[in-house]
Assembly symmetry: C2
Homo-oligomer: 323 residues x 2
């Protein structure tokens, strides 16, 4: 892109959900996160905007049946699918969110249309679908979204396990997906998308589409996407808490860890979050057993910016590949 001043080295970070990911799902999950990071980074590398990059990355995760968002969304109590998504841009703090939407192949793209075209920030169900149709976004019938895995999960659903373990250990499928990015113009954006939690009540609103809970982005602080026990994330406004800590002087890494620790001590829930600020400082932290993540760029990558994609699903085993 000629004539455009590139002032910043771009960064993208994605997550595929913080929960007790079973061993047999790790490869698909890690590869999916890596692919999404690569797709988002391609946008950034060509001079594209952070908002385009996070929507691209999250669309990739939604299209991947390995994750609980878009295709592969978990089933609610009625055996149906209700999805939620949020996008936010850090230059203007403009927000687009959609909740309890059905049929839209990529809820994150509906959120983006709401951000760009609606005077409102957040639309429910049919209103979101109406916007999507007006802008010819792709739709699918319910069979497209449902995988054998989520059918199995609903069958095995045990209310007691869900109520007790689900709250504190996030053992059941909660793999919300998300991305944060810094583009070459120095702007931040975040995106988060989810199918919610297995056997959830029809009409239950996840934390993911809620600004300040599922995500937050402000060039003056940080871009954040969160995952984990939704009700706990809402109670502490996890994403905004991280932004407040960064505004108060903490680096994204410390702010993200501190906010998750605070959430656990204050309301008892586990989760994870990814964050990046305009200096390219990155935070990746989780208090669940595992969280799939992938990252390209960032201030800790000296002299090899954009040469490698790092990814993993736990704290110890970081994988690295050439881009």
């Amino acid at each position: 892109m000629n004539g455009v001043v590139k002032t910043h080295q771009p960064v993208i970070v994605v997550h595929g959900g913080a929960w007790k990911i079973p061993d047999h799902m790790i490869t698909d999950s890690e590869q999916g996160a890596k692919l999404a990071a690569l797709e988002g980074y391609k946008v950034l590398k060509s001079g594209g905007s952070c908002i385009d990059a996070v929507v691209k990355a999250v669309s990739s995760l939604e299209d991947n049946p390995a994750f609980d968002a878009g295709r592969g969304s978990v089933l609610n109590e009625a055996g149906g699918v209700e999805m939620h998504a949020l996008v936010m841009r850090g230059d203007t703090c403009d927000v687009g969110g959609v909740l309890c939407i059905q049929h839209a192949r990529n809820p994150v793209q509906v959120a983006r249309i709401i951000l760009d075209e609606s005077p409102h920030c957040l639309l429910a169900g049919e209103a979101g679908l109406k916007m999507a149709r007006k802008h010819n976004l792709p739709e699918e019938n319910i069979d497209y979204f449902i995988t054998d895995h989520v059918k199995e999960e609903l069958k095995n659903f045990d209310k007691y396990t869900q109520a007790v373990d689900g709250l504190f250990n996030t053992n059941t499928g909660h793999d919300t997906v998300g991305a944060v990015a810094l583009d070459c113009h120095g702007n931040l954006a975040c995106a988060t998308s989810t199918g919610g939690i297995t056997a959830q009540q029809v009409g239950r609103v996840s934390d993911s589409p809620i600004v300040g809970s599922g995500g937050y982005a402000d060039n003056e602080s940080v871009a954040v996407s969160t995952t984990g026990h939704g009700e706990s994330i809402m109670k502490v406004n996890l994403a905004k808490t991280i932004a407040c800590y960064v505004e108060a002087g903490l680096a994204p890494k410390e702010a993200t860890a501190k906010a998750l620790k605070k959430m656990n001590s204050r309301v008892g829930g586990s989760g994870g979050a990814i964050s990046v600020d305009t200096r390219g400082r990155v935070g990746v932290h989780f208090t669940t057993e595992r969280m799939t993540w992938a990252k390209i760029g960032g201030s800790d990558v000296n002299g090899v910016v954009g040469k490698f994609v790092e990814f993993g699903c736990d704290a110890t085993n970081v994988k690295k590949e050439s881009v």
Copy 2:
């Protein structure tokens, strides 16, 4: 109440919305706020909980056709009514919220049922109504909610005025209602309720039911209820921003003023908020032309705790009556 240790002097603060309240509506608005504060304070005085007090106060405002919440809610583009409410308790940070609900006479009571009885924090439309019915909460047909005033307002609605002035000056009806309270046990709670904005899109979600935007309560910081331009309030997470400022050491009064100033400079919107902390320190601030408010108790009332109710709708003219 025998055997209960009363450690704190109770405080209640209510608001009836921050906007350009026309002169002819001031008396009804002020008297309604005063009545709601008195009803909520009665609960606190008898040793009742802050959550009971804010629900009582907001129910009173919802029942009052002078306010845009419950009866008197403004009409959406289709001439219908969709209401939103939030309650939060500061001891546990538990949240109950309902959005786009119809027929429930008191949306704040539905939010309370969700807080007490649902494993989820936030329910949409039909799901909220289902909860309300399960617990025999009162319902009304649409004629109950609609007043001549809101019919007139929809008729006079001018899209240009709404899009331009509405955003920055909040000239059109935005009278979200809310309450915050400190009870004699030292606990905080908040409640917020609204019918949204005139001619809003069907399915538009207001900031009011969104935790961190429409309200927030945490004994470790502050209880807040907000009002004003909903989209702006969401973009900055106004309620949580106030809580962050208090956590960082500001008094509720300074935190509330600083957050509203920040909202205006960052995203251009006007609004108002009320707040109280466990020390009984109160914040009442607005950047709109007017905001109706009422207050009983608070750390600035030396030696005459609970003897007077103060109320008003602008910064200069504070009225005071014996309780």
